[in-house]
Subunit: 567 residues, 2 copies
């Protein structure tokens, strides 16, 4: 009965921070060493952070990443580490270095490159062609990267057929809700199908619109889960994998070359220490994981971009209340300022609700009236607008006056503006460009309105007190840009809207298919028309956190100029 002690270093790298990532990787190698581990695995492209996008086109960036790898290599005396980096020079590869006792013993290059959804790997990388097996203390370990494991006949199968007893798969797999389930099911069957244990390590952290959720996993060769990393937190997960007997080596198709590297024996190895139990990690519920993704995404966007404080315009409505609650969780209440910016149309209830939200969260609330400035604009425009009726122009002008005030506060005090538009609004263009859309980060941009309510109730439940006031949860949503306005003057009820949007955006359904699901054709047509015609607004929107299978970001690349009538 042989044993392999594997540590999964579920870390949070920062894109481009080669020095910082290097330091963190070396720290985790040391942690692994302290646990007497045989091999410590880091996420995909841990050296550079993921995705570095067009930084990969800079020869200097590739060179600096190779230098960082050399610095890490030196710190692997007495241990083995698998570290994601960028290999190559003119032609580059998404690669994993096997660092062993101070040397680079082998390099694996990713064979399957995702180029769909948010991924553009074919833009940068060449495909690797060679599966890799390393032999460590007589045990055969196959190395793979992320996408590789999703293909049943990919390198996992080839390496297992060629004798690998354990497969290490390093990932930077971005979050959307319930994706961990897909991953667990897939990895379990990959392990069982190939009779190989699988150690799957994922990154954590926010990077622009993406959040990496961790949730690293180890499966035994029967496909049973042995350990699960926490979601949305850094940690080192160490597991002993038992390898009962040397398995028979199968014949592998002659068309595939496999690289085999036997790692030299490490003389200084201390022997296995007793491992404290990792403790069972219960996967989060859907709403819990969305909440944690939003908190981590906001925290990391701010920290990694050098922002300590945030400013949020509180309207008294539910969206801004939710964003404020997330911000407080992400960066602490002392770092969140809110502003209430009433106009003539703002109700007493809105003021009271905004005050209640700020009070419940214990955050500062500035009040700045926009009426005078709004009227000054109307006066400026009086002559040129004479004889023309009021319309959405005046509504937008109020929203944009607020936008300017919020931006002035941001510029003056260095506070990041968190915008408060939800996915339902962003989809149909129910938002004012340069108005409520003005800001640096759109926290709930991918959260449908119906889920906004769920999140608020969830927050109240975990905090065990009223954070989002009941009045906010129960009143009719309104933009308050003209008298007696409610969202439902313009939009279908949010449960209907969100169902149509899910079908249209996430599932590429057309009007007939949507109508056949039971929605009125006229409603479907109207919603689609609104989505299609507001592409120009989304193009100028702040980035926000992806939580659904398809967000309105890198995975939504629609032309603005587009005469296709799908309604």
């Amino acid at each position: 009965m042989e044993k392999l002690r594997v540590s999964l270093a579920q870390i949070n790298p920062t894109v481009g921070d080669l020095a910082g990532n290097t330091k963190k990787i070396i720290e985790y190698i040391q942690k692994g060493r302290e646990q007497g581990t045989d091999i410590v695995a880091f996420p995909e492209m841990a050296v550079t952070g993921y995705p570095p996008e067009d930084l990969l086109l800079k020869p200097g960036f590739i060179k600096d990443n190779l230098e960082a790898l050399r610095a890490i290599q030196k710190e692997t005396r007495g241990i083995t580490a698998v570290v994601g980096f960028v290999d190559g020079e003119k032609e580059i590869y998404n690669a994993a270095a096997v660092l062993h006792d101070g040397a680079v013993s082998a390099v694996y290059r990713k064979m399957y490159l995702p180029n769909y959804s948010v991924f553009d790997e074919e833009r940068y990388f060449k495909k690797g062609r060679e599966p890799l097996i390393i032999s460590l203390n007589g045990m055969d370990i196959g190395i793979t990267i992320c996408e590789d494991i999703w293909y049943p006949e990919g390198p996992v199968m080839i390496e297992a057929m060629a004798g690998a007893e354990v497969i290490i798969n390093i990932n930077a797999s971005p979050f959307y809700y319930r994706k961990w389930k897909l991953r667990e099911e897939m990895v379990a069957s990959r392990a069982a199908d190939n009779s190989a244990a699988i150690a799957y390590v994922n990154a954590v952290g926010g990077q622009d619109e993406l959040v990496f959720d961790g949730h690293s996993m180890v499966f035994d060769r029967q496909g049973n889960i042995m350990a699960r990393g926490r979601s949305f937190e850094e940690e080192l997960i160490t597991v002993d994998i038992s390898l009962p007997t040397k398995r028979l080596m199968s014949h592998v198709s002659r068309l595939t070359t496999i690289k085999r590297v036997t790692l030299p024996k490490i003389n200084s190895r201390p022997g296995y220490l007793t491992l404290s139990a990792h403790g069972e990690v219960v996967p989060p519920s859907l709403i819990e994981e969305v909440y944690k993704a939003l908190v981590l995404g906001t925290r990391d966007y701010m920290a990694k971009n050098g922002f300590k404080n945030a400013i949020i315009a509180l309207s008294g409505g539910i969206d801004s209340a939710l964003v404020a609650a997330i911000a407080v969780e992400a960066i602490g209440k002392e770092n969140v300022t809110t502003a209430f910016l009433p106009s003539y149309y703002t109700s007493r209830e809105s003021r009271e609700d905004a005050e209640r939200v700020a009070g419940n969260l214990g955050i500062k609330l500035l009040t700045i009236h926009i009426q005078d400035t709004f009227e000054s604009y109307l006066n400026d425009l009086k002559e040129v607008f004479s004889g023309v009726n009021p319309d959405t122009t005046e509504e937008n002008l109020q929203a944009r006056t607020r936008g300017n005030i919020i931006m002035a506060l941001s510029n003056k005090f260095g506070w990041l503006v968190l915008t408060t538009g939800n996915k339902s609004e962003m989809s149909v263009g129910y938002a004012t460009l340069y108005g409520d859309m003005a800001g640096g980060f759109a926290v709930i941009k991918d959260v449908p309105k119906t889920m906004v309510y769920e999140l608020c109730r969830y927050i109240n439940s975990i905090k065990e007190r009223e954070i989002i006031p009941e009045t906010v949860l129960t009143k009719a949503p309104t933009a308050e840009l003209k008298p007696n306005q409610t969202d439902q003057d313009t939009l279908p009820p949010y449960d209907v809207l969100d169902s149509i949007l899910k079908g249209y955006i996430e599932e590429n359904k057309g009007i007939e298919e949507l109508a056949s699901l039971g929605f009125q054709v006229e409603t479907v047509r109207k919603v689609i028309r609104m989505v299609d015609s507001s592409e120009y607004k989304r193009r100028q929107a702040a980035p926000g956190i992806k939580i659904t299978p398809r967000a309105l970001g890198k995975d939504w690349r629609m032309p603005i100029t587009n005469r296709y009538v799908s309604y």
Copy 2:
């Protein structure tokens, strides 16, 4: 001595406008018929327009495009047409249909898919695997699509080796300055190397940030140019290609399958009519082609998005003057309104220059003072700003007051706002988000400041009178957001800045490489730092027309969260 009459239909499709594109294609088939042509070739994806981006993920869109192709097919009685469309169902291909006498006789699928620069074809398409030769009246014609022809050992070579005497290559090749030269040199050598005539047809027209410049070409089998299409205009270019003797068929590698289709003889063919000479097309100079690209890009963005009128804020400076001149050329002076929006810091000279520009162009100039509203903002913010010194906040607030007024005019009257920032400013972030950046289309976003001057002098020269006043051409550039401000308080001289930016943006050069070109290290470092730290602004900028090898659009995919220090 055989002869093939080929017509290149250099048309301007609109993305998503399946009905409109179909109608246009049928019209050009008829034009070809009237010229007695054998075969008329249309651009890549002429049916859908290029690039349709994520419309390609909609099954309904693919289906509708196939239906459009069927409608076109019916209109090919007595003629042959090569039409770009999307083939397939679940797996789709960038394809060319050979429509012959009312039937689909063959389909070629693009073998090389570009996935760099502005291209994302691997996101959507599978690769074709089969070169195609069609035999028309005993002549062998090879079919290829765009990228295919850039590879010396690609399908052009294979088809020629297998006996093709003429290669038809259909394109949607986007413009940047001098790209036509690269294309001509490449196609000439491809023709000569393979002893095959090449008929290269390109699209024309604007699509969001891209402009297709036409400039279709026919080369004889010695690599001599036989005909050249005009740049930036639709036209049908008809050429008789002589094919002296039946060439010997070479052996083609057994690894490659070639599809061969013999087209049935058309009985109703009228025989060749005498062709009127096409006339020599002289390729444009660099500055001429940039000007035409900007005019067409602006015209098409407006027309294809349903805008008749534009509004431009004239500052009295050179950038807004240039944009106004381009707009007048694009949509006519009766459709262009300008606004002069003075503040306390606006000089008398600026007013006079703005008036002179509007006067020279014969366009309306509204004047709206921003001082009152600006002061109203300061009053709103007095309390919260008390004890803090004025800084760029107040400068931005002025720019944003202007932005709101321009947007109000846009909203009220349905005028598209054309923004006026140039590439030098957009690169270093010398622009105010939601201020001067507010608008729908950024005409000169990819034009470096030094080229802005060249374009203005060019316009004055072709109009043979002063359009851009000499005072505008000679005064020091200023944002006029504080007393005695000039751009060079903050930025290096524009000739230095533009050279550094070219090296950094277009050539991915790092600081050492740039310094070795003779620029001061400190200047290089400062410029790079400004570029890197203003990514968040560019992410929210309006799209604009690509004219350089690398614009700040789809071919510039930089992370916002990015700690890589390349300075």
